[in-house]
Structures are given as structure tokens and as C-alpha cells.
Symmetry: C2
Subunit: 314 residues, 2 copies
């Protein structure tokens, strides 16, 4: 799996954002762990295509899967715009949407499509311009969100390699549906409905409730994935979590994964929604923290509320 990330050049610091939220920079950093994040005035398709170009290294994909939350528009789906930015034409394209877990779900589905022989080189892109949907009147979630993109190129592992997907577990709990919402942009609170309020079109998050619910279900999901892999938690070389928030990342060692094995980018990029996990994976590759044969845990939460864990031999 070749990965690449693209971080838009404009940095917004806690110092710059705090006055717009009516909070101090210290409050922003303490609550969210985000010292700075990138803000893009370019669309997610442009960000995604930059990451994709680097991951593709001149090769052509035979399938493009967009695995992102924030779309450019409702129709067509964003995979079409990513393909257009790449200057391609005729490549089958579609989108997978599981909010912050879109990349993990995409990886699972694309892995199965390659195993089934349906495709040979799949471009999986997660790119977010979520800053457009920040609700500045909700400081905690607004301070978390950052823009960014990452891409992975997936091919069948060479026959002499033991790279493999060892386990995948996911749970979705509709009881937590209201904990993370963007209530607009659909039929329920349609933009043209006069009852739709501006805040309906922005991210709403109840951090403490997500934290509690995720915490209470995490062991079950991890146990399922590790049982499939036939491994214990101690055998993991690297943990690549969704960069949900500083407090969420700080809780990971309590599940048996020491801090030095955890990729933590929250202070520099914030929560880049679906792009968080692949940006962390690409960073680990770039920094030489991930070598072929390593056992890697990808793990995170998403709106739903969903939790998912994937164990890879890289």
C-alpha cells in the first residue's frame, strides 16, 4: 500500500482561532489538543488529487473510491471531481461514507474487491474541507476540525509478501446518532425549507457523550478484531488511530497500547475527519515508523456512533 498526504499550506493557530470562539488559546489547546490546523480555500477534490498524484507515482488506477465526509455537492459524488482533478476520464468511481471511519471502511471494501479479482489498482482517497462546516458558536467541535487529505494505492500483495488484512471489526450504535450530527444538507432539514436554521448546516458534536459511549464499546470491537487476527494487543507494533481529539488520543494507552506506539498528529493537524487515519498512516510511513511486516492497528470512531478496528500486516 502506497500512501501520501497533502496538507494545505495555510496554518491557523489556536491564538488566531480562539478570539473567534470567545475562548482563550489555552482553552482551545487544553480542551482539544489542537495547537494549529490547516485551513483550505481549495475544494476537497483538489486536496485529494494532490495526495492521490503522489501516491499513484505516475501509475493509473482502475477504480477510484472517495472515502470522505464533506462533499463538494450532493450530485455527482465527490469521486467524480477527484477523477476530474487528476485529469482522468473513464475510470469507475464511487464514494463510501462512514463519516470519520470512511477510510477504514473503504480499505476493507477495496481489499475485498482486489481479493475477488475485480480490480487491480484501487485509488482510495480521503479529503476534507470540513472547515466550511465549522460552527463557531460551538467552540469545542469548531476548535477540533482541520482540513487535509490523504490517499492510498491498493494492489494485491506480491506472492512473496506476507502483507495481509488480519482482522476487521465494526459496530454502529444508532442510540448515539445525535452525538455527532450535521442535520442539514438532506431531506430532513432541506436548505430550501424555511424551518432549516443556519446551525443545522454545521457540525454539532457532543464530545463527552461520544467519549463515554466509545469508551464503553471499545474493548468489544478490539477483542473481535484481535480474535480474527489471532494476536494479542501486545503484539501490535504501531497504532494509527482516528485523530478524534486530544482526550480521545490520551485514552488509547488505557486499552493496552503504550503511548510510544501511537501516531498522534492532533496538535498539528486537528481532526481532519475521514482524512485523519490515512494522514496518520502516511506520516508513519514518511517518518520510517512503519516497515513491511509490521503489525498495525487502525482504530477509530465515527458518527453513528460507530467504532471500527482493523489489524494489518503491513
Amino acid at each position: 500500500m502506497k500512501t501520501a498526504l497533502y496538507a494545505p499550506p495555510h496554518t491557523e493557530t489556536a491564538q488566531q482561532l480562539a478570539p473567534r470562539l470567545g475562548r482563550s488559546p489555552e482553552w482551545v489547546v487544553d480542551r482539544t489538543g489542537v495547537v494549529e490546523r490547516r485551513i483550505s480555500d481549495e475544494s476537497m477534490a483538489v486536496l485529494g488529487a494532490r495526495a492521490a498524484c503522489e501516491a499513484l507515482q505516475g501509475t493509473a488506477p482502475d477504480l477510484i473510491v472517495n472515502a470522505s465526509l464533506t462533499p463538494i455537492q450532493l450530485i455527482p459524488d465527490s469521486s467524480v471531481f477527484i477523477q476530474r482533478e487528476l485529469g482522468l476520464e473513464g475510470i469507475p468511481s464511487f464514494s463510501i461514507h462512514a463519516t470519520c471511519l470512511s477510510f477504514l471502511v473503504g480499505l476493507q471494501a477495496c481489499g475485498a474487491l482486489i481479493q475477488a479479482g475485480s480490480f487491480r489498482r484501487i485509488l482510495l482517497v480521503s479529503a476534507e474541507q470540513g472547515s466550511v462546516c465549522r460552527d463557531l458558536s460551538e467552540p469545542e467541535s469548531a476548535a477540533l476540525i482541520g482540513d487535509g487529505a490523504a490517499a492510498a494505492v491498493l494492489e494485491r500483495a506480491p506472492t512473496d509478501s506476507d502483507s495481509a488484512l488480519l482482522g476487521f471489526a465494526m459496530r454502529t450504535y444508532p442510540a448515539g446518532a445525535a452525538h455527532t450530527e450535521l442535520r442539514g444538507c438532506g431531506t430532513r432539514r432541506h436548505p430550501n425549507d424555511p424551518r432549516t436554521r443556519p446551525t443545522d448546516n454545521l457540525f454539532q458534536m457532543n464530545g463527552p457523550r461520544i467519549y463515554r459511549m466509545a469508551y464503553s464499546h471499545a474493548d468489544e470491537v478490539l477483542d473481535d478484531a484481535f480474535a480474527q487476527a489471532g494476536l494479542s494487543r501486545g503484539e501490535v507494533d504501531l497504532v494509527v488511530p482516528h485523530q478524534a481529539s486530544g482526550p480521545m488520543l490520551k485514552a488509547i494507552p488505557r486499552f493496552g497500547f503504550p503511548e510510544h506506539k501511537v501516531i498522534d498528529l492532533i496538535s498539528t493537524y486537528g481532526n481532519c475527519i475521514a482524512a485523519s487515519i490515512p494522514m496518520a498512516l502516511a506520516t508513519a510511513q514518511q517518518q520510517g515508523r512503519l516497515s513491511r511486516g509490521d503489525t498495525v492497528l487502525l482504530f477509530g470512531t465515527g458518527a453513528g456512533l460507530s467504532l471500527a478496528a482493523m489489524i494489518l500486516r503491513f
Copy 2:
């Protein structure tokens, strides 16, 4: 594959709709082929859950995939609301979005996930309340859209069965991205941006351009799928096309499939977007036009512009 459809009870006739479009009922029927369509005041999750309940026949799925266009809201994705309507909790859920081709793409991805052993009983749901996004000032597309839902329950074929996915081909052409659009509900024309116009939040379609582009690429996609299946077009028992429009359905015999093999529901249901193909498939099953062992072609177009063809031994 068990299928079921749910058609909301309220029927809107061409007679009733025509005055709202400033056209005659004859114009509506001539241009679109839609004599009547169903209009729902219930959400796509309710429609989808009704179809799903019937398809599940009391069994529990281990994965729920929503393959629909019109979401209830941007976050969480609609699979969560379908699961909630079904009274379930904890089942992994996500969405696939390829506009009108979402069900076909979902079938291909779910088939691979079952083949890989990742899941055993997948509930695939396409449900649309697209009527909310009709632009009455664009009579041709507004007259096409109808509401409806269908679901399929996918399991590994029994060992004594020769049911199989024989071929799948898809092409996406971003050059046709502007032919079918809903420009709003994303970052480009965000609902809170004062420059976003009400029509940006409604379906826009250029029927003649879609028709020409689809027509010019159809043979390539069909040839690819039939080559994979090792079959000729004459060996197909049944054609289940996307119910795009009367003219699109009338063109199918020109590609070598006689009219009596084509499932055509356009006059009674209109274009139910992603639900069209599975509603046609479920109708064929209900009417006894589809038996185990039959060779079936699923075929359609979607925004992108995309074309896809799947050949199944049912």
C-alpha cells in the same frame, strides 16, 4: 438474493403534476414515460426499513449498507437511520454513493465482502425520497422523479447452486459531470453561503446530453461485462435496467435486448434514483419473471456521468 420493494401509498398522476410544471399531462407522459409516481412524506429510512424488513424475513444482518442518493442529513450517513428504523443496534453500517448506480456498485462491493468471508448476511438498501429535491421550474427532470425503496439480502450461494456474479463493468466520465447535478448541500454552494440559490439545492438534469453520452459509451461497457461473463448478449434471460426515463428504456432493444426481456416500471413508479434497479429486480422476482439459474443483466447510468453493467446467474 432475497429482494423486496416498498412503494409509498400516495400516487401522484401526470394529471395532478402537470399544472404545477406548466405543462399538459400529455407532455409529461410523452417526454418522460411517467404516467404516475409515488410521493412519500416519510423519510428514506422509513421506506428503506419497510423494504428491508420484508427482505430479511426475520433474520438479522451482520452488515447494513445504504446505497441511496438522497440522504436524510449529511451526518450520520443514512445507514444509521435505516438501522434505527429496523430497531437494531450494533450492526456495522455505512453508505455507498454512486447516484443512480449505488445499488449496482453496492452489490459488487458486498459480493466481494461475502466472497472474502468478511460478512455472511448483508442487507443492501436503496431508498429515495427524491421528490423533496424536485425543481418544478425544470419540468423534464421534475416529472421523472418518484419515491420508493427496495432491499436485498445477500448471502453466499449454497454449494449446490451455480448462482454467481459473472461480470461487472463500469465507466465514469467527469466530462459529463454537469449533465446531472445537485450543486448544493456541500462545500461548493453551502446552504449558509448567501450566493447559494434555491435551485442549487434541487435536481438539475440535461436529459438529451445524458442520453447522447450514455448511448455512445454503452456498447463498450456492455462488451466488457459480457467478455468477463463469457456470454453473448443473446444469452441474457432478463434485463433489469435503471428506470432513467421512457426514452432511455425504449433505446435498450437497440443494444440487442428484445423488449419482452426488459423490466419497465417507468410508467408506474418514474425514476426512483438508486432504488430503481432493485425495485425492478424485486418486481421481476414477485412476478415470477426471474427464476434461479436465469442470466440477468443489470444495467444503468448515473451522475458522473457513469455507466455500469452487471451480469448475474441468479
